[in-house]
């Protein structure tokens, strides 16, 4: 059954969408959008490292994403104008990654597959890696959910209640690095952050609690992944960007809904 490349693509997209959604909620609640950008752009450096050392791509990306995420969370923890710093890191990581890949001797690397993903070429092995990573991320988040929420609200409050906000920050960092490593095959380094942020932001108007927001984001992410895959087959467009385009369309609808909501409530 998994012989069908479309089915494998659908499962890969679903795995990434379902794990990225709740993680993406934390990314926007904690205002870490640039953090997600910088970490996912660093994935390209990981690709270069993997190709240069014959490591598996996933391992190279995981390693570099983890180092990048740790460096950023240490630097921005000291509040060195985090916004500008993260902007610098995000774009530098992308540029350095592109340069590094091009410097590799004797390789003709198809850059676009790493930048935008190649979900239609997902193998059974890839599928195992993607779902393994997605389940790991989901378990990490489910295990630490309340502690992560408390630390997100206010680190001192979490500390006074016996928590350890620094550990929670590390757990999020680790989850983000895993997510980047498994999502690069599906949507590519450039669009991983989109899969984190857009479904979560789309879910916001429908939710009254953090949990309902995460579930809405998972549903919306899944719709975008499957819808984008079908659209790309129908219109012969690149799949990763098609998925993100559908997600963006849903976001526009949700924003229109939330803008109209007060008026609807008045009338009803």
């Amino acid at each position: 059954m998994l012989d069908d490349f479309i089915l494998r693509a659908a499962l890969a997209g679903l795995g990434v969408a379902l794990a990225a959604a709740p993680l993406g909620c934390f990314v926007i609640w904690r205002r870490m959008a640039y953090f997600g950008d910088a970490t996912s752009h660093a994935a390209l450096l990981g690709v270069a490292l993997a190709l240069a050392t014959d490591l598996p791509i996933t391992a190279g990306v995981l390693l570099v994403a983890l180092v990048m995420a740790l460096v950023i969370s240490t630097l921005s923890g000291r509040n060195v104008s985090a916004d500008a710093l993260l902007g610098v890191m995000a774009h530098s990581a992308l540029a350095l990654g592109l340069v590094a890949v091009s410097l590799l001797p004797g390789q003709r690397v198809d850059l676009s597959s790493y930048l935008f993903g190649e979900i239609l070429a997902v193998t059974r092995f890839d599928l195992g890696v993607i779902w393994g990573g997605a389940v790991a991320v989901a378990l990490l988040l489910a295990w630490r959910w309340s502690a992560l929420l408390a630390a997100t609200l206010n680190p001192d409050l979490a500390q006074a209640a016996g928590g350890n906000p620094r550990r929670e920050q590390l757990i999020l960092t680790l989850a983000l690095a895993i997510m980047v490593a498994v999502a690069i095959k599906v949507v590519g380094a450039l669009l991983i952050a989109a899969m984190l942020i857009i479904p979560a932001a789309t879910a916001r108007p429908f939710a009254r609690t953090p949990e309902t927001m995460a579930f809405w984001a998972m549903g919306l992410g899944a719709v975008a992944a499957l819808g984008g895959l079908l659209a790309s087959l129908e219109f012969d467009t690149p799949t990763g960007p098609s998925i993100v385009s559908i997600a963006a369309g849903l976001f526009a609808l949700s924003s229109a809904f939330s803008a109209a909501l007060p008026a609807l409530r008045r009338r009803g």
Binding site: S146, A150, L157, A158, Q159, A160, M213
Partner: protein, 252 residues
């Protein structure tokens, strides 16, 4: 024994020494207010007491099993985070529904459980923070500038609430006031910080002070007192340096 005791506590903030050589203790049921100008180390001291800031030197001893309820100075909730009052109070641990009802009632906001945190007014928000801090029946309630952003009657009402809570639970209360001139009348002790402990003492009864009348009239029902203190003395010979420099006033 004291709930918390510090010996020779020195704290750093952004690499600078924020507070040095603090010997501090608070006993069960006591109300202690910390005052001091901005940057005097008030918040650093509180953060050290709750364990969020490691001492650069000195020692903090907590009574074993001490339960601390903490009300932070401000809590910026991002508009992207949907959060009802009930869900907020359940963080980080699930609480029993009747305990939540009780805490909200004790804090004076029994009707807010299903409201969104971002829709609350300043006074409601502070009371919800207070309710959350009360849930696990703390031995020590710590409030960091809890009345910041409340207007004068709002602050007075909040202080009266704290007094009522203290009588209810019998917990000790440690709070910080950014306003050198306003401290709670019920304070057993006032601790004045300015990079170190400049002085410590009971707020005396001086209800007829013209400054007090000019500031508050009589509309605060005894919740506010005036505490005056000069900060223009030299700090190298600290300890008894403030004696004779400050006057303490309070209404009856």
């Amino acid at each position: 024994m004291s709930l918390i005791n510090t010996r020779g506590l020195t704290l750093r903030h952004d690499g600078q020494i924020a507070l040095r050589d603090v010997n501090f203790n608070i006993d069960a049921g006591e109300i202690v207010t910390i005052v001091g100008p901005n940057g005097s180390g008030k918040s650093s001291l509180l953060r050290a007491l709750i364990g969020a800031l490691k001492p650069a030197a000195g020692k903090i001893t907590r009574k074993p099993g001490l339960r601390i309820g903490y009300v932070p100075q401000k809590l910026q909730i991002d508009a992207t985070l949907p959060l009802t009052v009930r869900r907020f109070i359940n963080l980080p641990r699930r609480q029993k529904p009747e305990a939540i009802r009780g805490a909200l009632a004790t804090a004076g906001v029994p009707e807010l459980a299903e409201r969104q945190m971002v829709d609350l007014s300043g006074g409601q928000f502070q009371r919800v923070l207070l309710a959350r801090a009360l849930l696990e029946r703390p031995d020590l309630l710590i409030l960091d500038e809890a009345t910041q952003g409340l207007d004068q009657p709002g602050s007075a009402a909040f202080y009266r609430q704290i007094e009522a809570v203290r009588q209810d639970l019998g917990c000790a209360v440690l709070m910080v006031s950014h306003d050198l001139h306003v401290v709670m009348a019920a304070s057993d002790r006032v601790l004045c910080l300015n990079g170190h402990v400049c002085c410590e003492g009971t707020p005396e009864t001086v209800s007829e002070a013209p400054e007090y009348r000019a500031l508050f009239g009589s509309g605060t029902q005894g919740a506010l007192a005036l505490y005056r203190h000069d900060h223009d003395h030299h700090h190298h010979h600290h300890g008894a340096a403030c004696d004779g420099h400050h006057q303490e006033t309070e209404n009856a």
